[in-house]
Symmetry: C3
Subunit: 363 residues, 3 copies
């Protein structure tokens, strides 16, 4: 507990932990105050995601490169998975899908863009290993393409949503994507691990926790996140309406950003230290994990949880935004050099997406 | 006046100046001869655009790098702006939009393609600084993406054209694009000016004009261009029909090419001297200026001039052509090497666009 | 004949030649067994395509680089051309179009992907000449773009299919593509032949045949392929239904793969020898030949053969798959380095395409 308090004093991202008890108290006292519950649950998820990331890193550091890499890759998306599972259970499939699409876009535009901007403001021109960046960019692009094929090939929306063939296609595709994820882990952790500079090997904080303590924190935080997710998903639809936000906006922008903040901190910190390779790895690798791991898992689980199976079919605007974001990330990381203006333009594209989603009618 | 005559003798692009008085005389004598007036006004705009470019360079050369760069960037599109403003005033929004889209495509396919073809016919393989070309290509790509987002995300055409939310989106977007333009000027003229080899520093003609004379020419030509634009816009719709051209073809191909000829000359001349970096800078930089400067300015102005506000929503074919052209330019300039066949294929794609626009029904 | 038997003993791809007489016998005895005839004709085409490729190489090796290159480029697609012509004659335009689209996709995803996978499993990281790969990738991209313009610009499907303007556009486009093919041959065989490592100069088999013998084989095989094509096209529609395959799946996947196997063997063999430049040249060059040579030729011929002229208009799903495949090939060959996982992801995307085409309703 002392270790936890020490970390809290050091890391401002953990300070909103104080909001968590307030959230639970208010949920019991006034369960109908959806707007306030929504805001408080958003603020609660951020520090909990940071805690999961810290404890995962501490466990991973003790287990050797391969198992550590597996842990990082799998638990790195735990918050995303828990929130999405809660939403699946509540039948809010549009929220799940838009948060998946939004996570890919947020990682490739916000995490990458903010890293390039912050790094570029400190260092005039930043150079990085463009061969590895290109390989990672190609992997992300191919993963995304596989992920988007059903949306791109369906002639009409109705085909994939409600029919048996639509479900069969998404299920077959999820198996292929998940298999590619497995081969990708084998590739990045075993046969070609030298290409992937381990993000776990760059300790972001003063000291790592003992494994037992870290596992305890992981278990406790997982339970808390599950409870917070319940309140969050419950309040979303009411709160969205109260703030004039469409469900697509809430999932694509709010949920995705909330889930992504834990990863943003180490990416920015690496960029400040002129280690853009790490920042690019966090951004592109994180986006690839959504398409190859989180999304297929949710499709599988949707057959057991919730009212209807989820497909991998996205509305055309989401497809366009995902394609733009991943192509942009690929092209931008292609040059091996960066300056602040490139980062600013990436953030600008994200801002335009957010405004368009806010203004335009919901899909 | 002696300076002007000297320049005219030297520069064949200025010889069509002789057409200008004929145009005005015919407009008074036979204002209903739309087809001839259209052809004559097209021929008049070319030398006037060249004169604007010459006088801007002369002023810019005297004012130091930063202000000179600003002048070049702003006045480099003066002809485009004047013609578009005249069309806006006349309520011809489709003509304005298609000339904007066509300008981006003409700069990235024709200016770049012709430079690579002409340069490649003289020099076996041309090498250029691929790092800078890639940075400029990325900037153009990101600028274009921002510019196209409303068109890509709108589920139906009606959403963006006529509604309040469509207008709000285009206005907010124009503010963001214009801000990006400001930051881009700061980037290219101040913090990272070494990346952008100044096109102004490569004098294309024997001598620069004195500032006072250049400013006088600038003022006079601006007035003449405004008068010619009036005749041009007035005759376009009748003449287009007479020549079997749709309004989209006239704006996308004819207006865009006429406006672009002034920039084509220095781009080709640099390519012939094996200085492809300059040619690429003119082509990609010019296209980026359309998306970040000319288009937002026209959206702002459309609130004060003309019957209805203009949005940044383009018909799907225009979106496809802009995306193809900018992606192509980005990919082609990515390699750092060029040969004549690459230029020929770029021009071939443009020719296919022109034929398709001529043959297919108007949007 | 001894030479032929010697080759058959050496090359397992020729063993299915034994199927050819069985096919002809069965076609006379039981012409209504469409499913078996379909399977047997598929197996017959593979060895015949290999024989055409072997005899073309033998002739080309004797005729010098330029004429040899022309022969290879033209006769390399002889099987594709004969099958497509037979289908055109039978009025099966959808089969022709989907086999064209599928050929581009199969070359860029399967030939390239299998080469990168097989090569990468043997060699840890494979390096190749990225400048030439990029130039070839750019050429393929530009060729494909030209090829796809009518499909991308047509606002509605009906415009291009049935109307005079749709036919005129496809015809004009075919002339431009064919001209680009001519200039491309001039470029790759004459002005810049050093950029294109000749695939003919890498003899895949122990010895070349004498020219007279090779020409005899070529003539005989062409006749046999024509007869087999008749049976194949005749049985396709019945057999597709029997196996639950849509016509789009048969053309896009089955016909394209059958035609592509002859090229796959030398591409894989080069990859195994760590000569990825050759593999990339076979894959990207083959795809470019479909767009610039085979497709325009079929458009021209469709005016003399078959019930109606063929256009270059493809259904949206085919356009998406072609764009994805060529962009992917371009990006992947952009880095100059490859590892097995990149190849696996390319094959994965192809598998997803195949599943989607099988599951989704036909266009």
């Amino acid at each position: 507990m002392g270790l936890l308090l020490k970390e809290v004093r050091r890391n401002p991202l953990l300070w909103p932990l104080a909001v968590v008890p307030v959230l639970f108290a208010l949920h019991i006292a006034r369960p109908e105050s959806h707007a306030i519950l929504f805001v408080l649950s958003v603020f609660s998820i951020v520090p909990l995601a940071v805690l999961i990331s810290l404890s995962t890193e501490s466990v991973a550091a003790k287990t050797g490169d391969t198992i550590g890499g597996l842990l990082n890759a799998t638990l790195g998306n735990l918050t995303e998975l828990i929130v999405a599972l809660t939403a699946l259970k509540a039948g809010q499939i549009l929220l799940v899908k838009s948060s998946l699409a939004g996570a890919i876009v947020a990682k490739t535009l916000v995490t990458l863009g903010a890293s390039l901007l912050v790094g570029g403001l400190i260092h005039h021109i930043q150079e990085y290993n463009r061969v590895n960046a290109r390989l990672q960019g190609s992997l992300l692009f191919l993963a995304t393409i596989g992920f988007l094929v059903p949306s791109l090939l369906a002639e009409s929306e109705s085909v994939l949503e409600a029919t048996a063939s639509g479900n069969a296609l998404s299920l077959a595709l999820s198996v292929l994507l998940f298999a590619a994820y497995g081969f990708g882990m084998f590739f990045s952790l075993h046969t070609h691990s030298e290409l992937f500079t381990s993000t776990a090997s760059a300790p972001e904080h003063g000291e790592l926790w003992p494994v037992g303590f870290a596992l305890g924190v992981l278990a406790a935080v997982t339970i808390v996140v599950t409870l917070v997710s319940d309140i969050f998903v419950d309040s979303v639809q009411y709160a969205g309406a109260a703030f004039g936000m469409t469900p697509a906006f809430v999932g694509f922008i709010v949920v995705a950003l909330v889930n992504g903040i834990a990863e943003l901190a180490p990416a920015l910190s690496s960029a400040r230290k002129n280690r853009l390779d790490l920042s690019i790895g966090i951004a592109l690798g994180g986006a690839a994990q959504i398409t190859l791991f989180v999304a297929p898992v949710l499709v599988f689980v949707s057959y057991f949880v919730g009212p209807a199976p989820m497909t991998l079919h996205f509305w055309p605007g989401a497809v366009a935004m995902i394609l733009i974001a991943t192509t942009t990330a690929l092209l931008v990381t292609n040059s091996g050099r960066s300056a602040w203006f490139v980062g600013m333009l990436l953030l600008n594209v994200y801002l335009i997406f957010a405004i368009a989603l806010y203004v335009l009618p919901a899909p």
